[in-house]
């Protein structure tokens, strides 16, 4: 357990803001773009830092836009305050990785859905103690699936509050081990 989680990112944010103005943009190679995609994908979600924005599916695209790196993200919901922090982190990390000109574009459509969350992301969430969103069956009938307790695995859980500390999570409790836990809601 890291006991110094405090402001781990601040220094780099400041560095990015102080980055000198740019000379003319050189074109980007496919290798550059690949690297940029990896670096961008590793930016953690500020509130659930075990997940990266790639895990979440918030990172939509990284492309060359007239010699600038353009990163497209889709917020999980309209008012999500993490967007600003993600934007700052993208700029600072990409800048550190040698991409001084980064434009972060926020797009609302198509709207983000939990379907975009990777398997890896689901696994990490459960390990972290948050029940991952349910997979909808591809069929037409939407089954009422049970949310399993991330602590003991029991299916005997119930919702305490439709919202937890953040909009994307609800608060549940397990009737077997009594554990209260967050559930990342299907969206």
């Amino acid at each position: 357990m890291n006991e110094q989680p405090v402001l781990a990112e601040t220094g780099t944010v400041l560095a990015a803001e102080q980055a000198p103005p740019s000379p003319g943009p050189p074109p980007m190679s496919p290798a550059d773009l690949k690297l940029a995609r990896i670096v961008a994908g590793q930016v953690p979600d500020p509130e659930v830092p075990v997940l990266t924005i790639a895990d979440l599916g918030v990172l939509r695209d990284v492309d060359d836009h007239d010699g600038h790196l353009r990163v497209t993200i889709t917020p999980t919901y309209s008012g999500c305050p993490a967007v600003e922090a993600i934007r700052d982190d993208l700029i600072s990390r990409l800048s550190a990785a040698g991409f001084p000109h980064v434009e972060v574009v926020t797009t609302l459509s198509p709207a983000w859905t939990t379907e975009w969350m990777s398997e890896e992301g689901r696994r990490k969430l459960a390990e972290y103690g948050i029940a991952p969103p349910l997979r909808r069956a591809g069929g037409t009938v939407s089954l009422v699936l049970t949310v399993r307790c991330p602590q003991c695995g029991s299916a005997r859980t119930r919702e305490l509050s439709r919202f937890g500390s953040t909009a994307c999570k609800s608060l549940r409790v397990c009737d077997d081990c009594r554990e209260p836990f967050d559930h990342f809601k299907d969206h």
């Binding site: 402001l7 937890g164 081990c177």
Partner: protein, 309 residues
């Protein structure tokens, strides 16, 4: 006795006590008191910052602040649920809070007269809370420890946002800079008091340490906080209001001036600037909401009855 032994063994082995495990009554009570106080602090702590939601100076800051205060309510919910695993219920705990029989962190008895206070709370108060809480992620009681893992992560995000608010103000207009400095001047000392009285005056600490509810002494945590805050204040371009503050190369720590514990005890006794205001506000919301909770109960009862019939 076998149960007691097993409890001691589990704690000693750094393993977790879970809700259905046997535990000594005093352990249970200590935990209930501490988790409840923590939950109360989250919901009372919504007020000083909530004070600025309608007046935040940009839409982006308004959204961030709304989300933060929502987080605090969510943490409160989460912590009350954790306390409930110990066999109390939220309604009881709230009654104790409203009657003044359970405490919340004294820091929330200071007012937020300016927007910069939102930044100072995020940076200093959340910062101190994190230093206090990170060790609890290794607390011997499972549900509390696990709750703290996620809460600490979210609070780190809050602290970062508070720092950003102050950073922006500090490098803004002269009026904004002065606003930031003024807020830090007012919040610095109260933040140091958040770690509780000095070790030699802290009666309950020893047992909590033995039970691995508490991991570090008040003074250790306070020092850790100061060591963290000083360089951050420099990065902000703001001065901490302590002329005695200086780097001590020998110990590798920052030394700081004496804390005015009289003020701390006055606030703790209920005579702080906002004690009455905070509790009244809570009680009013609770009382004005009584008819709503009754309606929800009546509705649930009716529909349970109908479903049963």
């Amino acid at each position: 006795a076998a149960l007691a032994e097993r409890f001691e063994r589990t704690v000693a082995a750094e393993e977790r006590i879970e809700p259905r495990d046997w535990m000594p009554e005093a352990y249970r009570k200590t935990l209930i008191r501490q988790i409840a106080q923590h939950a109360h602090s989250e919901i009372i702590g919504m007020q000083p910052e909530g004070n600025w939601i309608t007046r935040a100076p940009s839409l982006r800051r308004k959204a961030i602040l709304l989300a933060k205060v929502q987080d605090e309510a969510g943490h409160g919910l989460y912590l009350y649920s954790a306390a409930e695993t110990l066999g109390v219920d939220r309604a009881e705990l709230l009654d104790l809070l409203h009657a003044g029989r359970q405490k919340y962190s004294s820091i929330f008895n200071y007012p937020t007269p300016t927007w910069a206070d939102v930044g100072a709370i995020g940076w200093l108060v959340d910062g101190a809370a994190i230093v206090n809480q990170v060790p609890i992620t290794r607390c011997s009681y499972g549900p509390y420890a696990r709750a703290m893992v996620r809460i600490c992560k979210e609070e780190s995000f809050h602290q970062r946002q508070g720092f950003e608010i102050l950073h922006h103000l500090s490098s803004g207009t002269p009026e904004q800079h002065a606003m930031a400095q003024d807020a830090v001047d007012r919040w610095w000392w109260p933040s140091l008091m958040m770690f509780g009285p000095p070790d030699d005056a802290s009666p309950n600490s020893a047992r909590s340490m033995a039970w691995k509810i508490k991991r570090f002494s008040n003074d250790e945590l306070r020092q850790r906080f100061v060591d963290m805050a000083v360089p951050q204040a420099e990065a902000l371009g703001l001065t901490l209001p302590d002329p005695e503050l200086r780097w001590d190369a020998e110990s590798g720590h920052y030394r700081f001036g004496a804390i005015d514990w009289t003020e701390f005890h006055e606030v703790l006794r209920g005579n702080g600037p906002c004690n009455a205001l905070r509790v009244e506000h809570r009680v009013r919301a609770h009382e004005e909401g009584a008819w709503v909770r009754e309606a929800a109960d009546a509705y649930a009862a009716k529909h349970a009855a109908r479903a049963g019939a």
